[in-house]
Symmetry: C2
Subunit: 170 residues, 2 copies
């Protein structure tokens, strides 16, 4: 779906997919990719919520914080990586804060920035969630492909991302 529906047919009964814009091979590849775009995040979310009561965004926030000096990052940096709007991130972090996994304070060196800071509890939560997450990842993605296939998937992803980045900048 989402590409190959007939655009010339006028009768409900006579409607047949045309696929006039993409070759069958292109269409096929695209359809497979769409399925992954839809179902892979879903699958990851399922596992995280079931085993760790975390959403993917929340996990991303905690993980990202854990990788920074002093477990501290500007809100805006978090927003960029997770593709959450600032406003969404603000709400997400507010909820994490209520759960005691993160706290916020103004950046001492520039009061316009707000720092999100991972708490010990947040770190512990992340540390508990991580192994299950990686295991799941392995079983769904990593082990489904040969090393070479995985490498190629990565580089195709990079090429796509550079197009997206370009279209965002332009």
């Amino acid at each position: 779906m989402m590409h190959d529906m007939a655009v010339d047919a006028r009768e409900p009964t006579a409607t047949e997919p045309l696929g006039g814009w993409l070759t069958p091979g292109q269409l096929d590849s695209w359809l497979s990719l769409v399925r992954v775009l839809i179902w892979l995040p879903w699958s990851i979310d399922q596992q995280l919520q079931r085993d760790s009561k975390l959403r993917m965004v929340e996990y991303q926030v905690l993980a990202m914080l854990s990788e920074h000096e002093n477990w501290t990052t500007h809100m805006s940096a978090l927003a960029e990586v997770t593709n959450a709007s600032l406003s969404r991130l603000s709400h997400v972090v507010e909820r994490l804060e209520k759960r005691g996994l993160v706290r916020r304070e103004p950046d001492p060196t520039d009061g316009r920035f707000t720092n999100a800071i991972l708490t010990d509890l947040g770190y512990a939560t992340l540390a508990e969630a991580a192994p299950g997450h990686v295991t799941h990842l392995r079983s769904i993605v990593i082990d489904a492909l040969s090393p070479e296939q995985l490498r190629r998937l990565g580089s195709a992803s990079q090429r796509i991302m550079s197009r997206i980045d370009a279209s965002r900048a332009g």
Copy 2:
């Protein structure tokens, strides 16, 4: 993020990514894929909403209907393909119905099913949206890759999907 955070460090200052669970290469490929999972749907949504006032789910619903006999499909079939819960789909179709793009009626052959049916207006809307969507798709995905790369991306996606399908069934 989401995999390689240190799990042994206890001091906020000493925290360094370990990457102990995935090789650097695997991690790299995975990170690239995650970025696509996050940003590609976003990019598609942007274009559709800007040019056609449609969300991706809505486009999917219209497109899927257009490919069926009599522009008609059971709600549950739509739900499966779009990975919307039945309930979400019900709300989505309700909104499409209010906009006159779709209508609903009980399946005459089995009253438990509800048929969603594309209206002429819905078809026209889809036909208007499709070219822009395909153009965008081409510029972001198809043209970013060689035919061979695209083919490989498709088959990698299939392999991943079969794992996900298996984990859903089991």
